[in-house]
């Protein structure tokens, strides 16, 4: 019922800078920039930040988009690693594309460099390996215009799994359930997180996380609170928490909104090695944020974030894997000493399993009713098998990786680790 096209020619449409950091993304970068340039919006610019890639990403982009190095005055409001050059296209068709080449400093540092150069009051941070749908910007910007009593400081959209999907000129033309089992597990995991958890948090204005793959931010607040923190691998969550803290401390009534529409499709890890690295990083990022902002915990000055969201993240996002592991060890111990009450354990496990399966199935049902992205019955049935297996295969692994993440954090490990891309499937020839 909502007509987003009304924004395309409206003087009310605020300008948006799209920031996409890229590090060794040679395989997918051209397709992804095409998708960014195809965004439907009236007043936007695209800024690609090459974070000191070691592959030929920059050369590819220079060649494809006829870029030339230009003089550019930048008012560095947030400090970043040195910028080696700023490129604009000789072709007028790409006049809203800017490429920054800078020394490697990580994703947060790249985004800060993009913020410094951006012209508009709002910016979108996206992963360049993700594909955003053409009308993502009007959907993301609507809460900024529709706000009634509070200032919207950030909005985020749902992220979906794009492995095995077909891409043509930067557009997703065919959506498929991934062929890889690990990617399939992540399809249901993403559906559950984005279609149940975040909607609820957004309703009570308790969101503490906007996915790094796609988020729209109020640049003014971001700059005032110092930009992205490059001392953490969970910079997306840390920024949202810091923005909200800033808003609470300066008594700015605010909201962080979430849009459940699948606005962004991303390639998820399809090998255990990469997946393990990603989960390890997520745990460390989560711990960093919780540690940096420990003063929020049960502090009524920070409203619902301090009283509900932060304790939730502490108990259910950080502590749960540890408690789960302790629980499992305790059961094993009880079995060894012969004190286990088998019928009770069986019934309890059955209830927990049933609940877990039902929750995931509900998320898939919600997807089927509202967005209906998977066309074939076979695909849907296939997806419904995944929740039955998930508690036995994928969930124990995520618990294990989370504990490893805790250990890595305590050892003081930093860094992202490599995320190898396979690239999207090309469009099939007719």
């Amino acid at each position: 019922m909502v007509d987003y096209s009304i924004l395309l020619s409206s003087p009310f449409a605020p300008g948006i800078s799209v920031l996409a950091p890229a590090f060794n993304e040679s395989k997918t970068i051209i397709d992804n920039i095409k998708a960014l340039l195809a965004i439907q919006y009236s007043n936007f610019e695209v800024i690609i930040i090459n974070d000191g890639s070691k592959d030929d990403s920059l050369e590819k982009v220079i060649r494809e988009y006829e870029l030339e190095k230009v003089d550019y005055v930048v008012n560095y409001r947030i400090s970043t690693k040195p910028v080696r050059g700023i490129y604009r296209s000789r072709n007028r068709a790409y006049h809203f594309l800017t490429v920054i080449d800078k020394e490697n400093g990580g994703k947060a540092d790249s985004l800060n460099a993009g913020i410094n150069i951006s012209r508009h009051d709002l910016f979108v941070a996206i992963d360049v390996d993700s594909v955003i749908i053409p009308d993502a910007l009007p959907k993301l910007v609507k809460p900024f215009l529709q706000t009634e009593h509070e200032r919207v400081i950030a909005t985020g959209g749902a992220v979906r799994v794009a492995n095995s999907c077909h891409l043509e000129n930067g557009h997703l033309i065919k959506i498929e359930v991934p062929k890889n089992i690990w990617a399939q597990f992540q399809v249901v995991e993403y559906a559950r997180a984005f279609l149940i958890g975040r909607i609820a948090w957004s309703k009570v204005n308790g969101l503490m996380l906007i996915s790094g793959a796609l988020g729209l931010f109020d640049k003014d607040i971001v700059i005032k609170c110092g930009g992205y923190n490059h001392n953490t691998v969970g910079e997306d969550m840390e920024l949202v928490v810091r923005m909200r803290k800033y808003a609470y401390e300066h008594k700015i009534p605010h909201r962080v909104e979430y849009i459940p529409d699948p606005l962004c499709w991303t390639e998820v890890p399809s090998s255990l090695k990469i997946l393990k690295r990603q989960r390890n990083r997520w745990t460390r990022g989560n711990m960093d944020t919780l540690y940096f902002h420990k003063d929020i915990f049960l502090n009524k000055k920070y409203g619902i974030m301090g009283l509900v969201s932060y304790p939730y993240y502490l108990l259910f996002e950080w502590l749960t894997p540890i408690l789960e592991a302790i629980g499992l060890f305790y059961i094993v111990y009880m079995i060894i000493i012969g004190q286990i009450n088998w019928p009770f354990l069986g019934l309890m496990s059955a209830f927990v399993y049933l609940f877990s399966v039902a929750l995931t199935c509900n998320a898939l049902l919600f997807e089927e009713i509202t967005f209906h992205r998977y066309d074939k019955m076979r695909q849907i049935l296939h997806l419904f098998i995944i929740p039955l297996l998930e508690p036995f295969i994928f969930h124990p692994l995520t618990v294990y990786w989370a504990i490893q993440g805790n250990i890595s954090y305590l050892k003081g490990e930093k860094g992202w680790g490599n995320m190898e891309r396979t690239g999207f499937a090309p469009a099939q020839k007719k």
Binding site: S10, N75, K142, E148, L347, A358, L365, I369
Partner: protein
């Protein structure tokens, strides 16, 4: 006043109370024997659950308050889980299999409706009217409105005539006044497009709806159905008129060439969002005669009102406002400071230039860039002749004109 937040709170509270009531009821049911004539499946469920409680009888006795609620809760979760999985399968099967039948039926009637509507507007075929009367009114209405929104002129008038001849207006009216918000959301815009004036009353009642989406459609319909398009409903308006709603009004006025009312009549409203809207529209429709009336709103306590006042003074070229703008500049936060500089650079009176020259002494690079950016070539030269050189000035000046500056 009912607001979205209050509604949500009531729903959460009601759900919570219901859950507790259900837990107590289930606990009673589990701890008491079943009636003799209970169905077999009830006996089985009761037996499994009682067995579950029996296994934990020690724990229950030790800490009965906690376990008294925990076990019924788990059982409720299990029941809800089973129900949801069952429903899920039903819905998916329905959507995937039976919906095909529905779609086929819908397509059949849609094609038929399109065929007869085209026959009617091409040659006024009366047979088409009788055929259209046999098609469900919802489909006919949808098809007429779809076509009506994309054509203009004589054929659009014919479509409107057909709409009334088929009594679609009665169908639309019944839906626009429906208790269900989804019907109002869908049919108020139709009533508005087809100028069903009887729907104005329904639109007026819906204007106070707590759901912004429904309220927006009602506001638009009411405005469009008003004979004089005076936006009278904004007087004493208690809800917030968000920018999203404002842009719809603007779009409607431009698209339908509706003459805008005198927006200065809303300047006195208590509702800040209405005042901001009035200022914004005064600017967009260039109501220059209201220029001087805008100046007092530079002192308004609401930031968005002040911002709209600053922008309106620029676009209406109100040079009399310059002393007030300079006065406001020192009290304003950085975002509005930039807007004030843009206005002063655009108006370029002697006072404004003098102020901008003095502000170039500031160390804030952003302000310096904005000052240089806001001036045209000749005034920029004038300013540069009157300021001291500073590090980076040459580079800033060089790139202000080619826009390679951030």
């Amino acid at each position: 006043m009912i607001t979205h937040r209050r509604m949500m709170f009531v729903v959460y509270l009601a759900t919570f109370v219901l859950l507790i009531a259900l837990m107590i009821r289930i606990d009673d049911w589990l701890t008491s024997p079943l009636v003799a004539d209970a169905p077999g499946w009830v006996v089985s469920v009761h037996s499994i659950c009682t067995q579950f409680i029996f296994q934990s009888v020690d724990l229950r006795q030790e800490s009965n308050m906690l376990f008294r609620f925990l076990f019924p809760l788990i059982i409720i979760m299990a029941i809800l889980s089973c129900i949801s999985i069952g429903l899920l399968l039903l819905v998916v099967v329905n959507m995937r299999l039976f919906s095909q039948l529905k779609i086929r039926r819908y397509n059949y009637y849609t094609n038929k409706a399109q065929k007869y509507i085209l026959q009617y507007i091409d040659n006024g075929n009366e047979v088409a009217v009788s055929e259209l009367k046999r098609i469900p009114p919802k489909i006919v209405t949808d098809q007429i409105i779809l076509l009506f929104n994309s054509i203009i002129g004589k054929k659009a008038l014919l479509l409107k005539k057909l709409f009334y001849e088929l009594n679609c207006h009665k169908f639309v009216l019944s839906r626009a006044g429906s208790f269900l918000w989804c019907n109002r959301l869908r049919y108020l815009p139709v009533a508005s497009a087809m100028q069903i004036t009887e729907a104005k009353e329904y639109a007026r009642k819906t204007i106070d709806c707590y759901m912004p989406l429904v309220r927006n459609e009602a506001e638009m319909a009411y405005f469009n159905l008003e004979g004089d398009h005076s936006m009278e409903f904004l007087r004493g308006f208690t809800r917030v008129l968000s920018e999203w709603h404002q842009l719809h009004f603007y779009n409607l006025m431009v698209r339908k060439s509706i003459p805008p009312p005198d927006f200065s009549t809303f300047f006195q409203e208590k509702n800040a969002s209405v005042v901001a809207f009035a200022l914004h529209m005064t600017r967009l429709f260039r109501q220059k005669e209201n220029g001087l009336l805008v100046i007092p709103y530079l002192q308004h306590k609401n930031e968005s009102v002040r911002k709209q006042a600053i922008l309106a003074l620029r676009d209406l070229e109100v040079k009399e406002a310059i002393p007030d703008l300079i006065d406001l500049y020192n009290r304003e936060e950085s975002r509005l400071k930039v807007e004030i500089i843009r206005v002063l650079g655009f108006l370029r009176t002697d006072d404004a230039m003098e102020f901008l020259i003095s502000e170039m002494a500031t160390t804030d690079v952003l302000i310096r860039i904005e000052i240089l950016r806001s001036l045209d070539y000749s005034h920029r030269s004038l300013l540069l002749n009157n300021i001291d050189n500073f590090e980076g000035l040459e580079e800033i000046v060089k790139h202000v004109s080619d826009n390679r500056i951030a």
